[in-house]
Subunit: 230 residues, 2 copies
């Protein structure tokens, strides 16, 4: 039977992922150097075409694991980019995701086909020119991440299982590019009830800090909004 959707020339459907992590006190994005045309030699976002039997989320997770070796990530759909000429090869619609990964979980050398020199974590404030419309996608992801930081505890996703409140504050300060008041920050985070003390102390050269963990029971989105950027 000829079905309705067979009448149309079909676009290809891909996923692209903006993977954020915090390394060296900077917010970084994962980039891949393209090996083929178009845009051969240029940096681009990790991603690829959706397999016919997998959901877009699964495709994003698969690509992500192939390219970073990371499995447990926070992944959120961002936006679907579908301008007809965004890909010179033909019609490609891309479902963009962003992911947050704890840098301590990233495997030191990359699995899969990509060579190490073709994979790189780059400062968001120092991005090279990117292939396709990937600069737009990164911009969009950054906006969404910052926005979400203002009123949720999504920043927890960038930290290891145990962390100090100072670590968490640093994550917020790096992403929002602004200094936060220590007492007010702690007051807010603790009043949200999204973290709980692990009753273990971090060892080190100075005063030991209480380690906290993410309280799984609470949804991560109970932050009270601070302000709104238009």
């Amino acid at each position: 039977m000829a079905t309705e959707h067979d009448k149309y020339i079909k676009p290809s459907v891909a996923v692209d992922i903006v993977v954020f992590t915090i390394m060296e006190n900077e917010l970084k994005v994962l980039l891949i150097k393209r090996g083929q045309q178009p845009f051969a030699g240029m940096w681009s976002l990790p991603g690829g075409f959706i397999h016919i039997d997998e959901s877009p989320e699964d495709a994003a997770l698969r690509e992500l694991e192939e390219e970073t070796g990371v499995k447990d990530v926070y992944l959120e759909q961002l936006y679907t980019f579908g301008r007809p000429n965004r890909d010179p090869r033909g019609r490609v619609i891309s479902i963009a995701y962003y992911a947050l990964v704890d840098s301590s979980k990233i495997k030191p050398h990359v699995t899969g086909a990509e060579k190490i020199e073709n994979v790189q974590w780059v400062d968001v404030s120092d991005l090279p020119k990117l292939a396709f419309d990937h600069e737009d996608i990164v911009g969009y992801a950054l906006k969404r991440l910052r926005y979400k930081m203002e009123y949720t505890a999504v920043g927890l996703e960038l930290l290891p299982d145990l962390f100090t409140l100072t670590d968490l504050q640093r994550v917020y300060e790096i992403i929002l590019s602004e200094k936060l008041d220590k007492r007010n920050f702690r007051k807010k985070v603790l009043s949200m009830g999204v973290v709980e003390p692990a009753k273990i102390y971090k060892k080190g050269p100075h005063r030991p800090a209480m380690l906290y963990r993410f309280k799984k029971s609470k949804p991560a989105s109970t932050f009270k909004r601070i302000k709104f950027e238009g």
Copy 2:
């Protein structure tokens, strides 16, 4: 030249639109009765397949105009639904949008192929069972609309060019399903600077009310958040 994306069986890509309007003091959604299998005879969201040379936004606007006769709408991408078996005909990925239209702009009889009895505005609180995963899509759209109402002036999109502040308050009350304080509501809306008085009064049997218009200069998103629903 064989390109990378030719290797994959391609899914079909569609758009579905949740069109909201306010009629009879209720928030309504536009539904279309399906004429063919699958789900023949069931109600569904307006939508259709993307043409190969149009952006998803254009496809959504085209479908919308075909089915409601409305051109000037507020349209926002919602989410892309791509579960492998969401459509029994085969792999169909749907980019969902929601739209807000002023009910006074809706043409009384529908243009295009749809028969009038197959098109209907339904109360969001009284939806029938819908085809495909369209109930999920409506639920998602409602959540997003209510959320956005809390901190932006998006409700303006449901009103004609000139409206009273009481009209605007009614829109917010209907969508949020809660009564708002008149003085506080007016204070907030006016302090946002998103509307300006038209210096014309609405005529009627009672005290004439000042008509306002949407101030185009300001972005619609300057509302201060009231509260957060998790």
